[in-house]
């Protein structure tokens, strides 16, 4: 299913779609308020982009520095070239310790690698512990947002699935009640898990440690109870120095939810006594992007979700319509690298308004990349014939001013006479849910000619 088709499904309930749009705009406004409290906000964005840009030019160097420092700290470091190898590595570590059950905090990378179904097929129980992730796990669906995994759901839907799976009161949909129920239920899992998995927000080359940020404390509670902690990181997550963190932690939560910082920003350097920490560094297509100059900046992403919250298309089509683990503008520039066949409609799921670029804390040129993808996908033949032909006609017309002027005159005369069925039909996607603008009496050219000269 392509994006417009999937978005249609989301829009079948217009009330819900409206609510979704407003909920995310509210988060975007919180981000604005938080950013405006810092006069140096724009300098911070420049710095963050600069540090990431520098790091990308020396990734191999910094990853090796991180590896040797981490090993000196007693951490175990593994390298995975793709999702399959990542899953195998994780499984082999778990198998060695005879792990039957793991608790996992939010990690988009493990979603990208489809780790949960893989481990489940090997007989290992996986419990997602972030409340939003737990909700979508119980509903057997993917997260719809990288920071707010259950933002597509109303409280009644959460209440329903909790009643079914956790036996909470039927019809009680108070967020406090449901959160408490999840706390009680997941506490049992925290206590009975044999191992924990987390993602990595930042890995520090200088010190060989890594940072995990959460509000719920689920990553820490999970990682500090059992004797085994596996942290998976995309290879672009490394940063050179400890002090660089000050820049990124100031930007991350403010951009994501409008908080000044998350409740917990935990710096793991050594395992506690009797425990092991493993770090899996994953490529899975990232090194390929590094050598595509027009797309390289997408590797600067710190997964804050600001571009999702601001995107008029994301807000009105929902995360699931993207059919990709990471939805929204950043997802639309990342997904086609892996599989253009499956994801060629995503770069078109944008108005190119540029709002994503404006809010990005690390200054990724998102809307430019979306445009680059469009031309790349057209050249590779992924566009429907109807679109290719109409674009060619329009382009030819624009290059011939006389034809353009004549066509305009004819169009304004003929169009109002056309019957509705000829104007609003399946070929006019634009007119599906809205009226076409009324036809002006005169073109700009004609107005300009007739104007009173001063």
């Amino acid at each position: 299913m392509n994006h417009p088709q999937a978005a249609d499904t989301f829009l079948e309930n217009p009330e819900h779609a409206k609510w979704h749009d407003r909920a995310l705009w509210f988060v975007r406004q919180k981000r604005d308020k938080a950013s405006k409290k810092l006069p140096e906000w724009e300098d911070l964005r420049d710095l963050a982009a600069g540090i990431k840009k520098h790091t990308l030019t020396k990734l191999s160097h910094y990853l090796q520095e991180f590896e040797s420092k981490a090993q000196a700290n007693g951490l175990h470091v593994h390298w995975a070239k793709d999702a399959e190898e990542h899953n195998e590595i994780v499984h082999s570590i778990l198998e060695k310790s005879k792990v039957k059950k793991i608790v996992k905090s939010k990690s988009m990378l493990t979603e990208e690698c489809h780790l949960n179904p893989y481990l489940e097929s090997k007989g290992i129980e996986v419990i997602d512990t972030d409340l939003g992730e737990r909700i979508v796990q119980l509903r057997r669906e993917p997260p719809s947002h990288i920071v707010l995994p259950a933002i597509h759901l109303k409280r009644e839907q959460v209440s329903e699935v909790f009643h079914e799976k956790m036996n909470t009161e039927k019809g009680n949909s108070q967020p406090e009640y449901l959160t408490e129920a999840a706390r009680q239920d997941l506490r049992k899992d925290f206590l009975s898990a044999d191992a924990a998995m987390t993602g990595v927000n930042f890995a520090i080359a200088e010190t060989g440690g890594f940072v995990v940020c959460t509000n719920e404390g689920n990553a820490d509670l999970g990682a500090t109870l059992p004797p085994l902690h596996i942290a998976s990181m995309g290879l672009e997550k490394v940063i050179p120095r400890m002090t660089d963190l000050s820049v990124f932690l100031r930007l991350l939560a403010r951009s994501a939810t409008g908080q000044t910082i998350t409740s917990y920003s935990s710096h793991f350097h050594k395992a506690q006594e009797g425990s092991e920490i493993h770090v899996v560094i994953v490529d899975n297509g990232r090194s390929k992007i590094l050598h595509e100059p027009e797309f390289i900046k997408s590797l600067q992403c710190i997964r804050c979700g600001a571009c999702l919250n601001t995107c008029p298309v994301y807000r009105r089509s929902g995360g699931h319509s993207y059919g990709n683990v990471v939805p929204g503008p950043i997802g639309s520039v990342l997904a086609p690298h892996g599989s253009p066949e499956a994801h060629h409609s995503l770069p078109f799921a944008s108005t190119l308004c540029g709002s994503c670029t404006d809010v990005c804390p690390v200054k990724i040129d998102l809307h430019t990349q979306l445009l680059n993808w469009r031309s790349k996908l057209m050249k590779s033949g992924y566009l429907p014939k109807s679109k290719v032909i109409s674009m060619k006609v329009v382009s030819w017309t624009f290059r011939h001013p006389k034809v353009y002027a004549t066509a305009g005159v004819l169009f304004r005369k003929i169009f109002p006479l056309l019957p509705t069925s000829l104007v609003y039909n399946r070929w006019n996607a634009w007119g599906k849910q809205r009226e076409l603008p009324s036809i002006p009496k005169m073109s700009f050219r004609e107005m300009y000619k007739k104007r009173k000269k001063p």
Binding site: V27, L38, E40, D43, L44, D46, L47, G50, I51, H54, T57, L59, S60, L63, W79, K81, E85, D130, G132, I135, L153, R155, P175, T179, L186, F190, L191, T207, G209, N215, E216, G217, D220, L221, T224, L225, L235, M242, T243, S246, V247, L249, R250, Q259, T260, I261, S263, Y264, S265, S266, H267, F268, H269, K270, Q272, E273, D283, S287, L290, H291
Partner: protein, 193 residues
Amino acid sequence: MSSRESILKALEKETLKPETHPEITLDAIQYENPIEVFKENCELAGAQVFIPSDPHCPKAIVHELFPDCSSILSYAEGIESNVNLSEVKSGHDLNSLELTVIKGELGVCENGAIWVDIKDLRFRSSLFICQHLVILLKAGSIVHNLHEAYEKVDFKGSNYGLFISGPSKTADIEQALVIGAHGPRSCSVIIEP
């Protein structure tokens, strides 16, 4: 070739134009009343803040906040534990822990976060498994912003340290803020003179 080598080779395949590592020299925000703003930001993050004038007060505040508390684990001087750590074999045994009291190293004005790095911390989970958390912080350790904090924190020999800002919380159900997700349900900060 191992995956490690092939990944590193793929990263070096073409030489990218070198970019310098920017120095963090920016005019970061400073506050006129750092303690006041710090308190405000702690409260925004869901914490409650106490500023007693008497240095002997923390103990009284803890007792007032948690009278008859049956299980206190304290890493802070002046507050006594009533949990015998020598009987605790793993963090799991602390599941009924009511209160953990710790010392903060440094407070950050701009976001109400407190750097915690306890050298004799035997069970890291004790910071999260407890129902309530109290953090004692010296007023003089409050800095304006996160850049100053990272300059000041001594990471050498740090095994596990973290910034804590308020209690555990979530807004995953319809963006409604709920305090007390998986970790402490409350976070009280006592600022000592």
